[in-house]
């Protein structure tokens, strides 16, 4: 740390014997790994954006993600906000663990790291519940997407026993879910009431197939990062408790490195939250 504050010329800095970037090899490589990971996630999210703007029948997020535990429905954004706060809270506890590390306070690090692990597990639990609802109750899979939006004006000719009743009208952009009973999807029949095909009878189409694939792939990839983060946190916590890092005398730098990774996971969630749920 002391070498950071002494002023050295650029030539000296790159002549060897110093850390030209002011960070240890491990920390620098963690930064570059995170940069490459940022590009991976960006590629996924950009693909999502491109496919979404290309399809007028794209499912409406406020309609897809609207359930809460305990059979509560029609409450968009609430559950995912809780998830966001769990992750933000664990990010804060990680900051505190790193700060305790700088002053070599083993008890403090242990406490805050345990809280971070609990936060990470809580987030994973929320995600498991969300996936379970989508797969188990709403029957969305990677390749079949029962969520869609109407692209024309119309009136339903039959009800589905849930939210839709016979004679209900809809306009372009109204979302729907094709329910599955006894192992079969029931695509409701409707009559078009406006436009060039006025009067013709059609049935609900399955939504864009890419939606399910992108959702499970991107949130799954993020969830996998959280899971591996929790595993690394547990390994580093064991090393902290056993006193391995005291011998290294570098201010618990390992805690700082896993801290960087953990904040990155939170950072990615900010953007997943933005493109999947908010917009």
């Amino acid at each position: 740390m002391a070498t950071d504050t002494t002023i050295i010329s650029d030539k000296e800095r790159w002549d060897g014997g110093t850390r030209p970037m002011g960070a240890s090899y491990g920390k620098l490589m963690m930064w570059y790994f995170l940069l490459s990971d940022a590009f991976t996630f960006s590629a996924f999210l950009i693909a999502y954006g491109a496919l979404r703007v290309s399809n007028p029948a794209w499912p409406v997020p406020d309609f897809v993600f609207q359930s809460l535990p305990g059979e509560i429905h029609h409450k968009p954004l609430i559950f995912v906000t809780i998830m966001t706060f769990v992750l933000l809270f664990s990010s804060y506890t990680m900051v505190r663990a790193v700060q305790e590390g700088h002053r070599e306070n083993k008890k403090g690090i242990t406490l805050w790291m345990v809280l971070t692990i609990i936060g990470g597990l809580g987030f994973l639990g929320c995600q498991a519940w969300e996936w379970n609802t989508l797969i188990g109750k709403e029957h969305m899979t990677v390749l079949t997407n029962p969520f869609g939006s109407h692209i024309e004006h119309g009136v339903y000719l039959e009800g589905d026993g849930h939210d839709v009743t016979e004679g209900m009208t809809f306009i372009p952009g109204d979302p729907y879910l094709i329910h599955k009973h006894d192992g079969e999807y029931h695509q409701l029949k409707y009559k078009v009431t406006e436009g060039s095909e006025k009067g013709s009878i059609k049935q609900q189409d399955f939504g864009p197939r890419a939606f399910g694939a992108l959702f499970f792939c991107i949130t799954g990839f993020h969830g996998f990062h959280v899971l591996s983060g929790v595993v690394f946190l547990i390994i580093i916590l064991i090393n902290v408790i056993s006193g391995n890092y005291v011998k290294r005398k570098n201010g618990y730098e390992m805690v700082e490195k896993i801290g960087l990774y953990w904040h990155f996971v939170d950072l990615v969630w900010v953007f997943v939250f933005l493109v999947f749920y908010l917009i």
Partner: protein, 151 residues
């Protein structure tokens, strides 16, 4: 470190409070803008036309506010929580500058996606088109002539 333990402790608490408040603000604004808070009220989206071309820049206030707030959150996480503020200039630049390539990525692919959408619509319209059967065959291959030769 740039500051002592007590100050950094307070700073962390301050940053997490701001992040929490921005998140709540985002959620409330999204619900408000999309008509979930006040029945029947939504913030409309419109397109700014451009000269000389037949497309415009879509202007969606809800989306723009969401993106701005998320970028502020990202800035706070990177610069305060990940201590980018206290790293050397060289490290900060080598990590942050490459991400600006993504600006191109977002613009190019959204433009491309929009074009796929237009093409999809065009194909749908063309599929619905009814063509009157003006007999090409009947006009140019008179059946009586063919009969003359074959008989």
């Amino acid at each position: 470190m740039a500051h002592d333990y007590e100050t950094s402790k307070k700073l962390a608490l301050k940053v997490i409070s701001i992040l929490g408040l921005i998140t709540i603000g985002e959620v409330l604004f999204a619900l408000f803008g999309k008509g979930h808070l006040i029945e029947g009220f939504t913030i409309p989206t419109f397109t700014i036309p451009l000269p000389f071309v037949d497309w415009g820049i879509p202007f969606n206030i809800v989306a723009i506010v969401m993106i701005t707030m998320s970028l502020i959150k990202a800035f706070l996480i990177i610069f305060e929580f990940m201590h980018m503020k206290y790293e050397l200039n060289g490290l900060a630049k080598s990590v942050l500058l490459p991400t600006f390539l993504l600006v191109w990525g977002v613009i190019a692919f959204l433009y491309e996606g929009n074009d796929w959408g237009n093409r999809r619509e065009l194909i749908n319209d063309k599929n619905k088109e009814k063509i009157e059967e003006v007999g090409f065959l009947r006009d140019y291959t008179p059946i009586d002539i063919i009969e003359e030769y074959t008989i």
